[in-house]
């Protein structure tokens, strides 16, 4: 038995972990009974664990095929973006969509339909998937947006509950250098940064803002906006990402990240950013994967761990973002730099998170007595605005709110029932939110 948790290190589960080495092993596991798929455990909550059950560790399915001239490559579901980049970057190819860490597997990227700083322009991960192979209790399917689109779109964003993804065929992005040319702008309030994003995001492939939710008064929501695109040839050539040299060696004592320390950090970080800078070259690693600079950084949150709260609201509901930031600043809850981003239109995934509008992501340490209630109140705000929270980050949503946030849930359940009528695929997330019955 192994103790497993999500990246937030809350609600750990003890489960029996089995690591199949290939598609045959996956099929054997599916025939055995309730199963949960897991990659590198970077979902923040309980999506990749099954307390008292069997968890398939798929990192052994890490085969990476040759990259063809058009940039298409077939990758095993357990291979990470890190491993793919190590192979692809020296050949001049980059992943079309990447979250803030390279330590996610292809299967995880599909299951959560991950997004990156280019969502407003390039959509989420699914848009770049040519096809994928899904092992289900009712057999193996090769899916694409053309071949069995229902099951394809139920699987991307489906949180691993339609079956086990074993391989993904992905279209990569051509890059000519290791550099991203970044424009940075600092704003003293939230209105400023949001207006700038509405006005200028279309000119950039990548755009993201970091918002300070601890500053009070007139400085509430001050932000640093970074936007850019890949530098043309001439700068340093693309090269494999390097592993971070720092690591948090042990779980920090509780309370290390408290109001004072987080405020001080946010202050320093805000002041460090230039008020306005144009086309400053950043390396791919530092621009896309700042979280990979320090290994095991989640241990800084101490033994109780933290929750990440990420929501999206439609374009017209920008006011909800402001209300959320103001509520947080007022509540005195400790929140590390929040990430604000504008999404483009969502894809047809039944449970895919992104929709055209604003998304805000917050890291909050567990411990404050008013945190659970405060997040429940934020859920209501988000729902009222027609938005939703991201299941890959969730560790605490009330199940009654899921169907309202994901209106195609019933449709998704019907597609899923076709390939998994007995409910073999499950997870603690699925059980907690009653996605697939208890």
């Amino acid at each position: 038995m192994t103790r497993l948790a999500g990246w937030g290190r809350t609600a750990a589960a003890t489960a029996s972990v089995v690591a199949p080495s290939g598609e045959a092993g996956v099929a054997a596991l599916l025939a055995r009974g309730p199963l949960c798929a897991r990659g590198l455990g970077r979902s923040y909550g309980d999506a990749a664990q099954l307390a008292g059950g069997t968890v398939a560790d798929l990192t052994g399915l890490d085969e990476i095929g040759p990259i063809d001239d058009a940039g298409a490559v077939t990758v095993g579901a357990g291979a990470s973006i890190d491993a793919l980049l190590a192979l692809a970057l020296p050949q001049g190819w980059f992943v079309p969509v990447t979250p803030g860490t390279r330590q996610v597997t292809m299967g995880g990227a599909v299951a959560a339909d991950v997004h990156g700083k280019n969502h407003h322009r390039d959509g989420s991960f699914a848009r770049h998937v040519e096809s994928l192979r899904l092992a289900t209790p009712r057999g193996v399917f090769d899916l694409s947006p053309e071949v069995d689109p229902d099951l394809f779109w139920a699987t991307v964003g489906g949180m691993g509950l339609t079956g086990v993804v074993t391989r993904v065929r992905l279209r990569l992005l051509r890059v000519e250098s290791d550099a991203v040319l970044v424009d940075t702008d600092r704003f003293d309030d939230l209105d400023g940064v949001m207006a700038a994003m509405v006005e200028g995001d279309e000119r950039y492939r990548y755009s993201v803002a970091w918002v300070d939710c601890t500053a009070g008064g007139a400085r509430t929501g001050r932000a640093v906006l970074t936007r850019g695109d890949h530098a043309p040839a001439g700068a340093a050539p693309p090269r494999a990402p390097r592993a971070g040299r720092l690591r948090v060696p042990f779980v920090a004592p509780p309370g290390l990240l408290n109001r004072l320390s987080v405020r001080a950090f946010n202050e320093a970080w805000f002041r460090r950013a230039p008020r306005h800078a144009v086309e400053v070259p950043h390396s791919l690693g530092s621009f896309f994967h700042p979280l990979d600079g320090v290994a095991d950084w989640n241990r800084l949150y101490g033994p109780r761990g933290f929750v990440q709260y990420q929501f999206v609201v439609p374009e017209r509901a920008g006011e909800t973002v402001r209300t959320a930031v103001e509520r947080l600043a007022r509540s005195g809850l400790v929140s590390f730099l929040a990430v604000l981003k504008r999404f483009g239109p969502g894809d047809p995934g039944h449970l895919s998170f992104p929709m055209a509008g604003w998304t805000l992501a917050l890291d909050l340490p567990v411990g404050a007595a008013d945190l659970p209630g405060e997040l429940d109140a934020l859920d209501d705000l988000v729902l009222e605005a027609g938005g939703r929270v991201y299941l890959a980050k969730d560790a605490r949503l009330a199940p009654a709110k899921v169907a309202a946030m994901y209106p195609r849930l019933a449709e998704w359940r019907a597609v899923r029932a076709r390939v998994d009528p007995e409910g073999v695929m499950t997870s603690d997330l699925a059980r907690r939110l009653h996605l697939v019955g208890r």
Binding site: M1, T10, A11, A13, T14, D46, R431
Partner: protein, 255 residues
Amino acid sequence: MENAFGQPQSVVVLGGTSDIARAIVRKLCATRAETVVLAGRDPARLAEAAREAEEYGATRTEVVTFDAEDPASAAPAVADAFERAGGPVDLVVVAVGALGDQSEFEDDPAEATRMVSVNMTWPVAALTAVRTRLLAQGHGRILVLTSVAGVRVRRSLYLYGGAKAGLDRLCQGMADSLVGTGVRLQIVRPGFVRTKMTTGQKEAPFTTGPNEVAEYVVRALSSNAPVVWSPPVLRYLFVIVRHLPAAVWRKVADL
């Protein structure tokens, strides 16, 4: 399933009509508890507690009756409660106990046996059955209400205090036996609480109400503290109390 804050969705309460248990259930139902199974002696009071749970947000309640003076009723009651929960149980609260005025019955061996039965033997039998079921399930949490009266036993209630002491110590060992299994046992040691059980008793320093105890319990669900003192200051007070010379303790215990 429990969420990141340790808030359960499915709860079984043994001793579900006690004031402290009801306060805990109210708090849990106000957060994520959906299914609540209440086990106790009196069907009318169980029904009332179940209604209250629903009023606070439970979507399904069930009741089970048992007799805490008969340890043989423990295993069937636990089996029935788990059956009625109809799925995995996230949290089992053990809040069975009886106090009374010891001076009225301390010369009666049958009464002494009854006190030990209700406060220790029945809970231990039930815990044994609960432990097996949660281990099979692979996850779950047990909260056992003992008492500071068992930390240093007083002359005027040595039957209650002694039985609670036995339960408390036994649970420390049981908690250790569960490390690494996915099942967790936490001991709750309230001080004097104003409830129907303590009506007529002389209040002790740091007396609280049931809602305060429930508040500390809910916090402990997220911190996973192995022992929860209510109020927390008693942890420090009892460091002193435990080490008082017997002669001094006899003088101050029943002031």
